[in-house]
């Protein structure tokens, strides 16, 4: 069956395929990058640009192709990064302009739009350099025009466009001497070919290798970097940089005044601390992953630009030794088959202990996140897609994430049910109430009921002086928060904890669960357990090592 007409919905799908395919191959595109400046970031830049375009499209999917095109152009412009990213945004700006009034388009319109995109892109430059993405786009558009007059089959047209784009890409070294010298094809051109290949794959329903892969995340990049390290470091003693350090810098304008932030400069500067370096940034946050021998200095460096959040430092020598030992003792286990289940459970947690806790009670996917680092809608959608299930329950465990989870529900293909849990204890309670043998509605009701029965409290410290809910709080005081409201504050953490527990526990209470944060000491835990046992002899106490940051304790009382 041939496709002769494309509407907004199909075009949106084409964009997603193109974006995904480029994303999957971004690293390869990076490796080709020698022109105009050999800094190896073309793939990353193009990927970030088109992902921004795709995101905008995803939020405004509709049948009118002109409007979808406009969303794409807007998203691309907003997210344009690097030379090739800007060119890409221009190509599709022209493309979209050409189809803006059209409800649907056919081969002739499509070819015309490609052509118009190329014209727009060429206009924005004084001296177009041939042998780049511009040339590839131009050749492909010319071919499209030629073919469009002979066929009305979009698939045939796109096939020819891809073929010509590839041929043109092969010719780029003949046009641009620097490419020939290094022996590569143009990176931007290659990026565009990947986008077109994605378009084609959508049209003929073909499976491109890895087309379903989600957008390259920091995690994946980190994994690749780690993998590289594993290959090179065979002996524990050979590990030159012993600490795997990951953190985010939340850029602060006042600090940027004296230290303007520039991603490349930052990458250069920080590279002297170690290897396996990854730096990803947007306007607000810089994510850094580095293997270093002096993690402290790396952090100090990062701090020059803003506040550090979500830090993680691991001793790789120790890890390596324990991996070696494990490999000696445990035989390799077969990967269990991912079989489709009826229900999937997705939850959000902060801290490895809480993650383990959730996994132990049946969560399929645990998204890292919580206060100060809310996962995006996209993170949640990705997590949902990882669940091999038709129906997925999502537990946001944070007031601020509920909305994102609801958005994820709207865009996800699977049936998604959001249980609006506002904190970890509620999430745990709701998840424990889950029964795989009953219908969705019934599950939902019992889970929400269970969630409402839990009283939750948290102990954290104040970051500044404030007055709230009739309490005067000084910086570094410990605050007890009960169900979102600050109820106690004290200089002493033990006192604050006890006061909070006094408010939470009443005669109907049966179980108190304590999630110990990464900043809380064992003695303190013992002291609190003792306090509960002395004062409330009927109550059972359970302690878990939640390892959550920021919150010294999370209490739940049932």
């Amino acid at each position: 069956m041939s496709i002769t007409v494309i509407d907004g919905k199909r075009f949106a799908e084409m964009v997603f395929y193109g974006a995904n395919h480029l994303s999957k191959n971004a690293k390869y595109v990076d490796s080709l990058n020698v022109f105009p400046v050999p800094d190896g970031d073309t793939g990353t830049n193009m990927n970030l640009s088109i992902q921004s375009g795709a995101r905008e499209v995803r939020e405004h999917i509709q049948p009118h192709i002109g409007k979808v095109g406009a969303s794409l152009a807007k998203g691309l412009l907003m997210g344009a990064r690097g030379n090739s990213g800007v060119i890409l945004s221009q190509l599709f700006r022209g493309f979209s302009k050409s189809i803006e009034d059209k409800e649907t388009i056919g081969t002739i319109d499509f070819a015309e739009a490609l052509k118009y995109g190329v014209e727009t892109a060429y206009k924005a430059v004084m001296r177009p350099v041939e042998g780049t993405i511009l040339t590839v786009a131009k050749d492909a558009a010319n071919k499209a025009e030629e073919v469009a007059s002979q066929t009305n089959d979009m698939t045939v047209l796109m096939e020819e466009v891809v073929k010509e784009a590839k041929a043109s890409l092969k010719r780029t070294p003949d046009l641009l001497p620097v490419l020939k010298e290094v022996g590569v094809v143009d990176s931007g051109g290659q990026g565009l070919v990947f986008v077109y290949e994605g378009f084609l794959a959508q049209l003929n329903g073909a499976q491109l290798e890895g087309i379903d892969a989600p957008e390259v995340s920091m995690e994946q990049l980190v994994k690749q970097e780690h993998h590289k390290s594993v290959q090179t470091f065979l002996d524990t003693e050979d590990i030159e940089f012993g600490y795997c350090t990951e953190f985010m810098v939340k850029l602060q304008p006042e600090k940027l005044k004296s230290n303007p932030f520039d991603e490349n400069q930052f990458r250069n500067d920080i590279s002297r601390f170690g290897d396996s370096l990854l730096v990803i940034s947007d306007d607000e946050i810089v994510k850094v992953h580095i293997h270093s021998e002096q993690p402290g200095e790396v952090l100090t460096f990062g701090q020059k630009y803003g506040e550090l959040i979500n830090l993680k430092i691991e001793n790789m020598r120790q890890q390596h030794t324990s991996i070696l030992e494990q490999e000696k003792t445990t035989p390799v286990q077969a990967v269990p088959n991912k079989k489709e289940e009826e229900y999937g459970l997705v939850t959000v947690a902060m801290g490895s202990g809480i993650r383990d806790l959730f996994q132990s009670i049946g969560a399929h996917v645990v998204i890292e996140g919580g206060q100060t680092m809310n996962p995006s809608t996209e993170d949640i959608v990705n997590a949902i897609e990882q669940c091999p299930a038709k129906k997925v329950f999502v537990f946001p465990n944070n007031k601020n994430i509920i909305l994102a989870a609801e958005q994820a529900r709207d865009v996800s293909k699977q049936e998604v049910i959001v249980i609006p849990t506002k904190n970890v204890p509620q999430g745990v309670a709701a998840m424990l109430a889950f029964n795989p043998n009953v219908e969705v509605e019934q599950n939902k009701t019992t889970m929400i009921e269970a969630m409402a029965q839990v009283k939750s409290g948290q102990i954290t410290y104040a970051v500044r002086d404030t007055k709230i809910d009739g309490l005067t709080i000084e910086k570094d005081d410990f605050m007890g928060i009960q169900d979102g409201e600050i109820v106690v504050s004290d200089k002493n953490i033990a006192v604050a904890s006890k006061k909070l527990l006094e408010k939470m526990i009443d005669e109907d209470s049966e179980i108190v669960t304590i999630l110990k944060g990464e900043d809380a000491s064992d003695e303190l835990v013992e002291q609190i357990v003792q306090f509960i046992e002395d004062n409330y002899p009927d109550v059972e106490v359970e302690v878990h090592d939640g390892k959550q940051p920021l919150y010294h304790f999370i209490f739940s009382v049932e």
Binding site: M78, R81, N83, V86, Q90, E119, A124, V125
Partner: protein
């Protein structure tokens, strides 16, 4: 004023004009830039895009206490992301200067003097 590089054989002097030409060349090679503009558009009465011979009007090389600053006056194409285009120019200029004359400027400032709107 010129840039002096000392080698063991003697001195290399590179005139400001040369640097301006290199910067200008690198700038117009960048995507999104439709041309160099004059620093003093009103005074010079040149509102048009500068020709190759006049790049130095749009490229100012300043030397302050051993630090080299470069100011570039450019016109960009309508509909491009100006911050990104400017950033690309900075990178390209820095790279070219380093490659060609081994000069590391301390700052490269971009002044966007205009946008060229092309109506189709």
């Amino acid at each position: 004023m010129s840039i002096e590089l000392k080698t063991k054989y003697g001195q290399i002097e590179i005139s400001n004009d040369t640097i301006a030409q290199i910067c200008g060349g690198a700038t117009v090679d960048s995507y999104g830039v439709v041309g160099m503009a004059s620093k003093n558009q009103i005074k010079d009465g040149i509102s048009e895009i500068l020709r190759k011979e006049n790049y130095s009007r749009g490229v100012i090389v300043r030397k302050e206490e051993d630090q080299i600053h470069i100011d570039l006056y450019i016109i960009v194409g309508y509909g491009t992301k100006i911050s990104e285009v400017a950033h690309n120019v900075q990178q390209k200029v820095q790279y070219d200067l380093e490659q060609i004359i081994g000069l590391k400027p301390d700052s490269i400032n971009i002044f966007v003097q205009g946008v060229r709107v092309t109506t189709p």
